[in-house]
């Protein structure tokens, strides 16, 4: 295989056109996402906030190709995700460009494999890296996340939640994607760790001219890292705009009630308490 450059995939934008996602059968339908439009370009950080059941997780899964909209389309660089995934080579390219960090649960990693194995796996599959190259890239990303390499040889249940979440981020960042979709990445973490991880993600966006979609139900963390925000409620985007505007001068009632629920200081200071 020729000298591989990791990352630096072409990225113009991700565009969502009137996407809908409906679950269930004739007898019991549930509309999770109800007509959402969205555009994300390089060097943007978009926050999507909403309560549980607002459809934000479903939307984030559609952005990364883990789920298909019932109607409407999701595009990467003007090509529908469906087409990207239809053919193996294109699918690999899509995965090199768009990555995903899930919320930390007991099952975000295969319990029978070491963390090293799980984190290295995408690099192996998407770039064919092996041996010394693979280990070097692995050590690099661990170092940047200040993770002790000794931890990597453990099984997932033998590290703390915060460490595990950093490994999950490592797994996504190791392939240097242009787009990272984070779903409740910091929600389960101690506040002291949250700040560190958020800063790390900010740095990554800057250094790699990347885009981040930050999905969360926690307003302060989202406001800290994102320059733009969208608020979701019952599957719809009820408010969208620059973070400052959404937070200080919301046009929508629901958004207002959401913001009021948090202590004003946190949100205005833009730093997690």
């Amino acid at each position: 295989m020729p000298e591989t450059v990791i990352g630096r995939r072409p990225f113009t934008e991700i565009r969502v056109d009137d996407a809908r996602r409906i679950f269930g059968s004739r007898r019991s339908r549930h509309v999770a996402v109800d007509g959402v439009d969205l555009t994300i370009g390089p060097s943007t950080s978009l926050g999507i906030v909403g309560e549980s059941g607002s459809g934000k997780s479903t939307l984030s899964r559609m952005l990364v190709g883990l789920d298909e909209p019932t109607s409407g389309t999701v595009h990467l660089n003007d090509v529908p995700v469906h087409d990207w995934l239809a053919q193996r080579e294109r699918e690999l390219e899509f995965r090199r460009t768009v990555q995903y960090v899930p919320q930390d649960t007991s099952s975000s990693f295969d319990p029978r494999r070491t963390l090293r194995d799980s984190v290295q796996s995408p690099l192996r599959t998407l770039y064919g890296l092996t041996g010394r190259e693979l280990d070097d890239a692995f050590d690099d990303v661990l170092e940047s996340l200040q993770l002790d390499p000794a931890l990597a040889d453990r099984k997932p249940h033998r590290v703390s939640g915060g460490q595990r979440q950093r490994f999950a981020i490592a797994r996504a960042l190791i392939v240097r994607p242009r787009v990272i979709v984070c779903d409740e990445v910091v929600s389960a973490l101690d506040v002291s760790v949250q700040g560190a991880i958020l800063n790390l993600l900010k740095q990554y966006i800057a250094e790699h001219d990347a885009a981040i979609v930050f999905v969360s139900h926690g307003l302060p963390a989202t406001a800290f890292i994102c320059s733009r925000m969208s608020v979701m409620h019952h599957g719809r985007v009820v408010e969208s705009g620059p973070t400052e505007q959404v937070v200080h001068d919301p046009a929508d009632d629901y958004t207002r009630s959401l913001i009021d629920a948090y202590r004003l200081d946190d949100v205005h200071a833009g730093v997690p308490a």
């Binding site: 990303v141 940047s144 002790d148 460490q163 101690d190 991880i197």
Partner: protein
């Protein structure tokens, strides 16, 4: 890439798990009976004091110094036959356990992965699940005895029939676990990492979904021995004069009722003890592996 994590370095590393103290030798005691059974199955036929398939003395002699377990109605030494009989059922049960567990895992995974699909694959998968659920309803011994009666009783035919009859257990366990594993987040993570579905099934689903069936192997073994011996008791097992616990009990029953208990009771007790030994060892092994 040189990113530096600004801010607090995060939580302290979780201490590595303390090295487990070496277990006392007495904890291995629980495996002793099963180990003895295994030894018996292997060397049994070679260490018998008398030839287990030949008449060696008078008929129906009570246990004494010459014939430790007495002789049966034909004059064969009960002790030799009891020891030598371990091999037959244990051998069959071993083959059956491996076959039924392996077959069960494959079928269970197929059913679990395919259930939600449409079309023919989904139909077959759901049909398979249905058949598996029903397999408990009809007594296995009846199915086995009729099939073996028609096909003849050799080690091979018994192994095949018992394997088929015992597949549903591991299959159900694997199917249930497959359904659970399918919802786990690490599968999505693997997809995001570019892994193909087929490789995903092999690398992530199979090793996790197969665990309950593997843990269950000792139970399957016990049942296999029990049914093989029961078939022998009913007259459709390995034919005499080959020593087999079930057929020995069957032939010794009329003697038992007349008071000459040894030719039936000794094989029966050994059979029961063998099954309990495996059940106990299996349970202990699973408990230790889980910790």
């Amino acid at each position: 890439m040189t990113l530096r994590l600004a801010g607090p370095a995060g939580d302290a590393a979780v201490a590595a798990p303390a090295a487990r103290p070496r277990p006392r030798w007495s904890t291995y005691l629980i495996f002793l009976p099963a180990a003895l059974l295994a030894v018996l199955a292997i060397v049994g036929p070679y260490i018998t004091p008398y030839d287990p398939t030949r008449v060696v003395g008078g008929a129906a002699i009570a246990p004494n110094a010459t014939y430790w377990f007495g002789t049966d109605s034909a004059g064969m030494d009960v002790f030799s036959r009891t020891i030598a009989a371990a091999r037959v059922d244990v051998l069959i049960a071993t083959v059956v356990t491996l076959g039924a567990t392996l077959g069960g895992i494959l079928i269970g995974m197929f059913a679990g992965m395919g259930e939600s699909h449409g079309g023919l694959r989904g139909l077959i998968a759901r049909g398979t699940s249905r058949v598996l659920d029903l397999a408990d309803a009809v007594p296995l011994i009846v199915i086995a005895m009729v099939i073996v009666a028609m096909f003849g009783a050799t080690e091979l035919s018994l192994s095949i029939v018992l394997t088929i009859v015992l597949i549903p257990g591991p299959a159900r366990l694997t199917r249930a676990e497959t359904l659970r594993v399918r919802g786990e987040a690490y599968l999505d993570a693997a997809r995001i990492g570019g892994m193909r579905e087929s490789k995903l099934s092999l690398r992530h689903v199979l090793p996790n979904a197969a665990i309950p069936a593997v843990e269950n192997m000792s139970v399957v073994f016990g049942i296999a021995v029990a049914i093989a011996a029961a078939l022998g008791f009913l007259g459709v097992g390995i034919a005499p004069p080959t020593p087999e616990w079930g057929s020995m009990v069957s032939r010794g029953t009329s003697d038992l009722i007349s008071g000459r208990w040894w030719s039936a009771v000794f094989p029966a007790v050994f059979l029961g003890a063998a099954i309990v030994a495996v059940a106990v060892a299996g349970g202990a092994a699973v408990r230790r592996l889980r910790n």
